[in-house]
Structure formats: structure tokens, C-alpha cells
Assembly symmetry: C2
């Protein structure tokens, strides 16, 4: 309790107090590479406790060349899907007693590169890159620094980088089949503006699922609520809305919902919707979204595991169909919302 802000306690202080050298103190603190006599260990522990000693991780990092810090680069922290992914990555790292440096690239390849640069200068032990289409390939930077890097959700496709992404083929097939089960002959798809990326995988999966149906419409817009909202209003105004729609992302689905509401289009009555993300937000839209829930936690866990060099080898978990209201089912309309969707504070 006598520690002063202006004079932090160091290893040397503890050693002096315990009447040993700094080496033994170090051995005790981290069950060091060499054993210490029980009596001495006690003395050291006591001294450390009395002085309130806290190891200086910076000094440790300098010497041992490992910081216990991992850099997390986000394409867009505003997007709840990415934000949820980030949360799970942070938790997975926390479980392993590592700290998370976070940074937001805002869809800019330059800023992404810059961030990785700064993280590397801070000597991170690893990099997790939650990237979107158009994200720069920073594998070379990481490799030059000898730091392991893993992409999550989307990564360069040249095979040089490790990428963790869920396989959506089954999920999309299931979503389309479910809407067909509601009697919809033609199931449309709302994809992203470009053709690359994991969401393109979703699109091709949809194409496979509706193969042979020339009336199945492919729509495109940005992965944003605003874009999907105005697209929906435009289609509604031109009476060109499909009756059943699978959206690539929750953001788009939420935009569709608000656009439909504003246009007086009933969901699911006039337009049935299933989204392919399943972020927590999807449980409390009006109406609640039926989704195929991405295994975000498993993806985060796998990514962090890959950083440690261990290759879990497990294929990505499947995305289960979560039936709620927007597809035309009763969903949980009459049950209280499930508490697992968002635990109360």
C-alpha cells in the first residue's frame, strides 16, 4: 500500500527486499526455466505481494520478443456483422490471456495497410484481419515481419493466406427450400454490388439452388441498410418486388424491412425474407428475421487457433436455419424472445 505513482516497483526492488538476485525473482514469477527452493520462493512471493509488484510487460516483451498482443483489423466497425465478429475474436483472445489492439480500416486499402504497419511496429504477436471485398492483401507485410496473420470472413484468394470463412452452400440451399416450402415458386436473391468475396459464394450457391428457374431474380445493392432500403422503395413503387427474397446480409435485410414498411408492403405477407447472416439484431426487427446464423464464434475461435500455429483442420461449422417470422412462419411470435439472443445486463 506504500507504492507511489512516481516510482513503480521493479524486479530489482523485489529482489532486494527478498534478499535474492533478480534472476530468482524472475524464475519465481514465471515458474521460470529453472527451479527455486521452496523457502526462497515463499520469500520472493511475500516480497512481491508486500510491494505490490506488477511485471512490466513492455520490458518483458523487449527481451522475450513476444508481447501477448494481437492486432485486429476491421473493415468496418459500424457494421454489426463485423462488430459481432470482432467481439468474438476479442473474447477468444481474452480466453488465451492475450490483449487485443483494434483498428478500423473503413473499407480503405490504404488505411488497412497503414494499420497493419503500425500494429507490426507495436510488435504484435499476430494479426486477425476481418476484411471485406477490396481489402488489400497484407500477407507480404506480415510475412516480412515474421508475424502470423489470419483473414476472417474474406481474404485474398491466391491461397497464400489463411482464410477462415463459413461455408454457406448448405445454408443457402436450406433457405431457398424453406421459402419454397411456403409455396413460393420463385426465390429472388439480393447480393452485393460486386462479384468477388464470400458473399459471391452465397450468390453462386443461390444460383445452384434455383437452377432451372428463369424467373428467379438476382438483385444487387451495397451492403448497407440505406441502399437496400431505397432499392426496396424503388421496386415497390414500380410494382417489381419479388414475393420471396434471400438477402446476402442482415444489413440488407433490415434495409428491405424498413423500405417495405415505408412503402406499405407487408412482410411476410406480400414479401417473405430470409437473411444469411443472423447477427443478434435480426431477432428484434419488425418482423423478426428468419436467418441462417453464421457461426461467428466458431469462426473467431478457429482464426485465433490458427494464429497459434495449430491448424484445427475442422471445416467451418454450418450455418443453421433460425426460423422466426419474416419467412412466413409463426416464429417466436407468441413466445417471449429467447434470452440467449441478447442477455440482459
Amino acid at each position: 500500500m506504500t507504492k507511489r505513482a512516481d516510482k513503480p516497483i521493479t524486479l530489482t526492488d523485489v529482489a532486494r527486499r527478498a534478499g535474492t538476485s533478480t534472476a530468482v525473482v524472475s524464475y519465481v514469477i514465471n515458474n521460470g526455466p529453472r527451479p527455486v527452493a521452496a523457502a526462497t520462493r515463499e520469500r520472493v512471493l511475500a516480497a512481491a505481494a508486500e510491494l505490490g509488484y506488477r511485471p512490466n510487460r513492455i520490458a518483458r516483451a523487449l527481451r522475450s520478443r513476444t508481447t501477448g498482443v494481437v492486432g485486429l483489423v476491421l473493415a468496418d466497425a459500424s457494421n454489426p456483422y463485423f462488430a459481432a465478429l470482432a467481439r468474438h475474436v476479442e473474447q477468444a483472445l481474452e480466453r488465451r490471456e492475450r490483449l487485443t489492439l483494434i483498428g478500423n480500416a473503413g473499407y480503405s486499402a490504404d488505411r488497412q495497410r497503414d494499420l497493419v504497419d503500425r500494429f507490426l511496429a507495436a510488435q504484435v504477436d499476430g494479426l486477425v484481419i476481418v476484411s471485406a471485398e477490396g481489402g488489400d492483401d497484407v500477407t507480404d507485410l506480415a510475412q516480412a515481419a515474421g508475424v502470423p496473420a489470419v483473414y476472417v470472413h474474406h481474404g485474398p484468394s491466391d491461397g497464400r493466406a489463411r482464410v477462415v470463412a463459413a461455408d454457406n452452400h448448405d445454408a443457402v440451399r436450406e433457405a431457398v427450400a424453406h421459402l419454397r416450402g411456403h409455396g413460393h415458386r420463385h426465390v429472388a436473391f439480393l447480393g452485393g454490388p460486386h462479384d468477388e468475396g464470400p458473399v459471391a459464394g452465397r450468390r453462386t450457391a443461390w444460383e445452384a439452388a434455383v437452377a432451372g428457374d428463369p424467373w428467379a431474380a438476382l438483385l444487387r445493392c451495397d451492403y448497407s441498410r440505406a441502399a437496400a432500403d431505397s432499392l426496396t422503395r424503388r421496386l415497390a413503387a414500380g410494382d417489381a418486388l419479388p414475393r420471396a427474397l434471400v438477402t446476402a446480409t442482415d444489413e440488407q435485410a433490415i434495409g428491405v424491412l424498413s423500405g417495405a414498411w415505408a412503402s406499405g408492403v407487408a412482410v411476410p405477407g406480400r414479401l417473405a425474407v430470409i437473411s444469411l447472416d443472423g447477427t443478434p439484431e435480426s431477432a428484434h426487427t419488425a418482423p423478426a428475421l428468419t436467418v441462417t446464423r453464421q457461426p461467428l464464434e466458431a469462426m473467431a475461435e478457429q482464426a485465433v487457433e490458427l494464429l497459434s500455429g495449430r491448424d484445427p483442420g475442422v471445416p467451418a461449422a454450418r450455418a443453421p436455419l433460425v426460423v422466426r417470422r419474416s419467412c412466413g412462419c409463426d416464429g417466436d411470435q407468441h413466445r417471449p424472445p429467447t434470452p440467449t439472443d441478447r442477455p440482459p445486463p
Copy 2:
């Protein structure tokens, strides 16, 4: 381009190559405390560039006792309000070329303390604590380590700690007045389960605004979508819903919306709603929420400014009323959603 992963370039390498001592290299790199002759400076810069030298921030931190890293502790990263706040804090730090260590306390005072402990061990230059009611007071820890700490949104009320929070009095008054303008005599309030915290400030502001109206109902539930959703369903089932409601948070408002939808209650027709947060999500609910938007960016900026010791002295910015649909106005129903709400990727 010849740098190898296994042999990082150090100051010494650059010095050797430039034919100088390490001191001058250091002086050049950071426009050091001493001047360097122009010619020498050129040689050093050239050598550094050729070798691809990147200063080791860990070593620098050890020597100069400043890491350029700030710790950000979040009460709940799942909550979009906190998440948005976190994003703005990260951006404010980014602007000052500082890195952000992030951690999620999950409403646990123990974990919050633990996180602060670990951040301090990592020698952060400052702490930003986005806390909720019940968050532990960690000022003592930070103070003992001589690290500046700032609370955002909510902090200990004993006056020892610096706390940044928006003043909501005017905002609440404005919200109530707006609903009265729509002809509602009695404006109810949905607050949190407890009475402490900044949201209690919102509650007392409401009490002041509806003073003299004995029919103005005070409702309470957790700050979660699920809780507000089921509360709304229960009230609707018992025909006990108010006609006009101000909610303390967006999360609650969104829960009210989904509960109302599931109960067949029309918003804003049967129930008018205004929320007091104004996170980006609120623009794309069905119907779009009328809110008083918290000046999150200003709060983040102010918090980070406080960390640097400068006291901006500015009072918290007011929360402006953003009129959309849920209050009964036309809102932006017929305009496409404003692009500033969520920029497309």
C-alpha cells in the same frame, strides 16, 4: 527489399550503414532533441529507407516510458450504443496517432478491474472507460499507476474521477414537448431497472417535463431488446399500453417496436415512440425511430482530449431531436434514407 523475417532491422544497422552513431539516427528519426547536419540527415534517411527500417515501438516504450497506446474498457460491446461510442473513441485516438487496446468487461466489476490491471501492466498511456451502472471504480488503480483515466457515459459520482456524459435535460424536454405537439396528453417513460446512472438523469428530466401530470406512467425494464419486447407484449395483452412513450435507450425502443409488431400494435398510430439514444440503427427500424441523438463523437473527442491533460472545458454538446417516423411525423418516409446515416462500403 532484402530484409529477412528472421533478422529485423535495428537502429544499429542503420547507423552502421550510414556511417554514424545510433544517436544521430535516433535524432533524425524523431527530429530528435538535437539537430543534425543536413547532409548527415540525408545519409541516414537513405540508409533507413534502403534497409526498410521500422522503429521498434516496444524498445522505444521501455526507454521513454510512453507507449502511444490507450486502453478502452467497454461495459458491453454487444450493445450498439456502447459499440458506437467505442468506435468514436478509437477514431479520436487514431487521429492522434495512438493505438487502442480494447477489452470487454461484460457488466462484471471483477472483469473490469482485471482488464484495467492488464492494461496497466501493458503500460498504457491512458484509460477510457465506457462503463454502465454498477461498473467498479478503478480510479484508484489508475492513479496508483500514474495513468490518466476518463469515464464516458457513466462514472463514479464521488467527483474524484473525470466523467464525460451528455446533458439530457433539454433533449428529454424536447422529446416530451414534441409528443405533446402530436396531441398526446400523457407521455410515458421507459427507464432502466435501477435508479442510478446517467439514464436516471434522463428519468428525472422526464419527471420534470411531465410534472403535474399524474397519468404519466413510469415503466421500467432492462436495457435490452428482449426485455422491452416482452414488456411491450405483456402491456399490449393487458391493454395497458400508453399512447406515447419516451424510451431511455435505442435498445429498448427497438424492443418496443418488435414487441408492438408482434402484438399487432401500430406504431406510431396506436403508440408513438421517441428514443433518447439515436444510434445509427435507429434510422432503419420499421418504422424509423424519432430520437434525440447523443453527441457520441463529441463525447469521445472530449474524453480523449481530457486524457491528454487538456480540459476542453466545453460543456457536453446538446442532443438534437431527429424527427423520423415513430413519433407520428412523416419523417423521411418519402425521401430516400439520408446517406450520412450509414455510408455505403
